[in-house]
Symmetry: C2
Subunit: 145 residues, 2 copies
DNA sequence: TTAAATTATGTGTATATACACTTAATATTT
DNA sequence: AAATATTAAGTGTATATACACATAATTTAA
């Protein structure tokens, strides 16, 4: 059945598949570099800590909006960060809300991994060369689809 | 501590984070379109079935190389496809190897989701416009980092 | 003010991902 | 041929992801 092969051949150039594949690989690259800091931390965890470093304290829902990450996914991700002592949780007047903040140790870890993150980022930028800005713009477009 | 905010501000433009975010979102888009076929299938599962449609039968290791997907990840992904009856497994003369092939039902499913996949793919292509080819090239570069 | 609707968050379940380790089979070495 | 090394695949564990559903607190409507 050679017709089958041709029937689905266009499905090979799937943009979703390509993006997932790239995300897998770049996650590996970044995480490998981060390992060299001696901290047991990965790229996804860093991205959340970085957001926390840029704000005072915010609710899970607000954070999930900014990260464009499903709220319940974030809940589970935060649990891991909490276990490592990198974040701190607070409650406010509204008993439903839960506020999250970067902890002192979380801040220290960010400082420690910074140079290794830079290495990974530079490595990636080098690959993209002049296409960097356009590439980032296109990623943003897809994130907002 | 405003200095902290500036100290890590460059970490916000993390290419890894952007790629992961885009991958999450595009996966949602594709999966939503695929749902409309009536089949309970997602974009990742399609990508594996598509690869299988292009080959005769291959070992897990060979498949994981072609997909650039960790072998043990693929093992688990194949288990899901097997449960749905979309693939078929064979053993060869070498008792260690396990060969996987698209099943008749798997082939049917691919035919059924094809138009919905096309919708998602066109939607994405439209967003990228003239940047499509360059974008794909850059994704490929990152996949091969 | 009590009932109903809304809101913020968490949990159950399933899939995706990857590393460390295990197991079984084949190939190589002695 | 038996011991050793290599190879192919699976399992344990942990994290990431997302949907459906549950729960608790607050707000709105009656």
């Amino acid at each position: 059945m050679n017709s089958q092969k041709e029937k689905y051949s266009e499905l090979i150039d799937c943009l979703c598949t390509s993006l997932r594949r790239s995300a897998r690989n770049i996650s590996q690259i970044y995480s490998e570099h981060l390992q060299q800091s001696g901290e047991k931390i990965n790229a996804n965890q860093v991205s959340i800590l970085v957001l926390l470093s840029q704000i005072e304290k915010e609710t899970i829902s607000e954070l999930s909006n900014k990260l464009k990450m499903e709220r319940t996914t974030l809940t589970r991700n935060l649990k891991v960060l909490d276990k490592s002592g990198w974040i701190k949780n607070y409650s406010g007047t509204d008993g439903r809300m839960k506020f999250t903040k970067l902890s002192k140790r979380g801040n220290q870890v960010l400082g420690k991994i910074l140079p290794y993150w830079k290495q990974a980022q530079n490595k990636t930028k080098k690959i993209l060369g002049d296409d960097l800005k356009l590439f980032q713009d296109n990623l943003k477009k897809i994130s907002n689809l």
